[in-house]
């Protein structure tokens, strides 16, 4: 490749299929921190199809900054030591389409920015992965200034902001299709 100006064409994606369950999920994948961590937060929800039926064969991944907004580049996501925050989690939904992560609230990576958790969705029947963001509901000033959220309708905006429940949990449902369809993202270069 002598000419670096010409971009290569990306390899196409394909569905994760039905049989990833013994290959990709791993022990501790959903625990970015231990449940006993003083600031542990449950992030959970359900994945739905276009009929509002839970999708039982979906896998989710999250990637986020730590509480101080620092991006971890520490290895150890697959073999957790229980102390190091790696920022990455993976979980397969259960038989009723529900998922659970245990993590911390991400801090803003820059002052004044709205913090969010990156979420990637895979499923049987979904021919390529989907990206979205799970925004925290609290910093309303930062949310009001977020360029992506500001480009959305009220309903679309609401689909990307997690609900803080009474016990401190974050609730975030994924709707692959339908009236409540989650906003999914395309990034430059894809």
């Amino acid at each position: 490749m002598s000419e670096n100006t010409e971009r290569l064409v990306p390899t196409p994606g394909q569905t994760i299929g039905p049989f990833y369950g013994y290959a990709l999920p791993y022990e501790g994948g959903e625990f970015l921190v231990d449940r006993s961590h003083p600031n542990a937060v449950r992030l959970h929800g359900t994945v739905y199809d276009g009929h509002g039926t839970p999708v039982p064969d979906s896998m989710l991944e999250i990637w986020q900054a730590d509480e101080n907004g620092q991006v971890s580049q520490e290895p150890g996501s697959l073999k957790r030591d229980g102390y190091t925050f790696t920022g990455f989690g993976r979980v397969a939904v259960d038989n009723v389409g529900h998922y659970d992560f245990t993590t911390v609230n991400p801090g803003p990576t820059e002052d004044g920015k709205a913090p969010f958790i990156c979420l990637t969705v895979f499923a049987r029947g979904l021919l390529n992965r989907l990206f979205t963001r799970v925004y925290l509901p609290e910093d309303t000033d930062a949310l009001a200034n977020d360029p992506l959220l500001n480009s959305l309708s009220e309903a679309e905006r609401a689909s990307m902001i997690a609900e803080r429940q009474a016990d401190g949990s974050l609730r975030f449902d994924v709707h692959l299709q339908g009236d409540d369809e989650t906003v999914f993202l395309a990034y430059p270069g894809i």
């Binding site: 490749m1 971009r7 290569l8 064409v9 990306p10 390899t11 196409p12 994606g13 394909q14 569905t15 049989f19 990833y20 369950g21 013994y22 290959a23 276009g50 009929h51 999708v55 039982p56 064969d57 991944e61 990637w63 991006v71 580049q73 290895p75 150890g76 073999k79 790696t86 920022g87 990455f88 259960d94 038989n95 991400p106 990576t109 820059e110 969010f116 990156c118 990637t120 895979f122 049987r124 029947g125 979904l126 021919l127 992965r129 990206f131 963001r133 360029p147 992506l148 480009s151 692959l176 299709q177 369809e181 906003v183 999914f184 993202l185 395309a186 990034y187 430059p188 270069g189 894809i190």
Partner: protein
Amino acid sequence: MTTENDDTFDPPYVKGADDAADTQNQLNDEMAAISKQYENAGKEETQPRLDYAPYRSSILRHPTKDPRHADPETIELYAPAFGQRDVHALESDLTIQDGGEPIGERIRISGRILDGDGRPVRNQLVEIWQANAAGRYIHKRDQHPAPIDPNFTGVGRCLTGDDGSYSFITIKPGPYPWKNHLNAWRPAHVHFSLFGTDFTQRMITQMYFPGDPLFALDPIYQSIVDPKARERLVADYDHDISEHEWLLGYRWDIVLSGSNRTWTEDDSNV
């Protein structure tokens, strides 16, 4: 056998007797009509369509709205780091099991992972999974009456080298039947899960073997409506990778989407 310990398992995807009622010919007609529309539209596509009705399971599982364009923010410009702590070197050889040698054609699959600018993706995680030589997965939802191989789980991992290279030793997987339509068979394939330097490059795909007669019949492969694009999923036989009296070699290079990070000389090290 593994993974038999989930007693809450309920097979929600097992469908009724009439779910697979459509014939292959009906499927072929649907796929041909979509190909024709694509050719006439004259706009190049490089990824699978999410809305591809011949793959029946996609009908209720594809978003109906176009994705929103987002400028990546700091967290999206990085990917999780994986290291020797996460992946043991032996995990790239799927033929090593406690009991003995798995049955089937021993093969090596090698290639490089590059980003959209041709930059090697270094020290990053690659995960694969596949059926055995008879077309059976070690997964309790796989009810295909083909034999389980006690010496083959079909799961592997490795980290890429400094040049973006990866390599797995495995067994050539068999094609297998599924319930999309009557007499539906998937071409033999290996699932690949890939990370880049940016989380926006995350992808999962399938690698196929050259010359498979099932390509034209398979709605998952055909969901990539551009012929050139779908051929990017087909490995090349490479005699330079084959080893004397030991295994056959395939080469498959992977290109992720472009990185949006601002790379310094130190970062890229091309």
